[in-house]
Homo-oligomer: 339 residues x 2
Amino acid sequence: VSVTLREVGEFPLIERLKARLPAPSSRVLVPLGDDGGVCRLTGEGEVAVSTVDLLVEGIDFVQALPARLVGRKAMAVNLSDLAAMGARPAGALVAVAAPGTTELSWVESLYDGIAERAREHAVDVLGGDLSGMPEGAPIVLSVTALGGALPEKVVRRAGARPGNLVCVTGTLGDAAAGLDRMRSSGTLAGKTAPDLFDPLVLRQLDPTPRVEAGLGLAGLSTAMIDISDGFLADLGHVCEASGAGASIEAGKLPLSRALQATGPDALSWALSGGEDFELLFTVRPGDEERARAACGAVGMTVVGHMVRERGIRVLQADGRVLDPPKRAGWTHFGPVENL
Amino acid sequence: VSVTLREVGEFPLIERLKARLPAPSSRVLVPLGDDGGVCRLTGEGEVAVSTVDLLVEGIDFVQALPARLVGRKAMAVNLSDLAAMGARPAGALVAVAAPGTTELSWVESLYDGIAERAREHAVDVLGGDLSGMPEGAPIVLSVTALGGALPEKVVRRAGARPGNLVCVTGTLGDAAAGLDRMRSSGTLAGKTAPDLFDPLVLRQLDPTPRVEAGLGLAGLSTAMIDISDGFLADLGHVCEASGAGASIEAGKLPLSRALQATGPDALSWALSGGEDFELLFTVRPGDEERARAACGAVGMTVVGHMVRERGIRVLQADGRVLDPPKRAGWTHFGPVENL
């Protein structure tokens, strides 16, 4: 039997959703449910690191996708931002706006997914808000993530110096190829269920925030960002913030077997596809092995180096410069098909 | 000439909006614009206090209202939550989702309002997100507020004991009466401009968070909440959390002259109207004068006392119990007319 949010009512709904979240840890002095959550967010000598992301139905997700995965991703993308600062995640605040006609079970599964990722990373959900939406309006999800870091270990986008190695964790391009596959198969239009056995689709729907690698790289990498807009776009942010340029060897970009099997588009996905949520960072050449150890099983690949001259050059195996691909990253405020 | 968000584009828009926010204070190590903001959020021995609120067009505001006031209110309601915990505000994160057809000038004014309230309370805007929305969808605004408090001074909803005095700051009911007036005058429907010389309308559109009073009451009041759902509804939250009841004298409720002039509905607005954003708190009888001093010019009124027996009784001047008004507070997930 289908039950809508309006049928449950605000206060019973709050109780039902709260019950799905992890029990407060010993850091929490006042849990969710008061005017504010109170938490020992930062350890001795640490400063607070914070980030917020909105996810909008029709742009960042569709209701045809499993809500649990939408919840996992909403939390993951925020934890990824903390990872890119070299911060230890500690708390989160979650707000959802949904029309009263929304299925209760969908929102409950959304919270299950949020709770899963919170538990995995020992994150306390410290606050929340639920709001109605006019009928027919999209569901909107806001997640704020809070963490702690020693100030001298925080890694910014600025800080990359000429000669530093440009490195990435994991593999690139999978998420964008997975999105393309879901678009082609009619999954985004709600016509078919997502193929969760397809590793590309899974990378798009359930990205893993590189929290441990980020912590290991704190105080070691000279600049860091997580790849959300796409490798070239995010490297561009690092170059701009650092006042430098980069030289990238296309042949060194780490491509998964699944991505290689997609054919000639593979490199283009890796260069320009968004939402990999891998870490892109720079280290001094002498720190390469320490950085590799910090990345552990996730793996790290050196894909190029920073140069004095502004701009990004992508070199092919034969040494020729690759024409910049047309698709330079996500564009927001675009049509819904940009999902 | 009207310019839309889509015409400006995402990155220039971010720069334009960032420029309107206050310059980072000395507490900020990494300002807005990196993957996360980094800030010395808490002072020596303090813990972090956090809260989040969503504001939805068509439910919490309409585009016909001055955007600057919408921004001021979005920040104010979050600072009000921190005040109700007895916390010192320090940081905020602001996320906005809007269709690409939204007027740039409206969103710029929104940020001006956010920035005004941030400056007034020395709040650093540490992070943000901008997202598109499908055309025709409402604008959604998410504000997270962060603050610090000494753990022993944090004030919860729980903690009110039988015999404690029930107190409120300022006056009650104005905001709800102002909302009613805007509904009657066609302002909510966009037919007339809001009358900003009407004190009731102004209380609804531009509430003042009782930050100083909240700080003064920290470590002094036994329980505290801000009045957002309505006096009776929020007193109900305190009673429930504290495992007690309350006896209220209707004749003692502080009504502004403007509200009294509205006629026989005045008491009902004061009891059940939402969004006053005054503080509702309890103190031991011996602490009444200290509490009054802490509230300063905002003023404090004792409106009743806590009792052992559960439930809230409202007594009229002749000692008879007032029938509970039908409207027990805001209901969310309701139709848009609930604004």
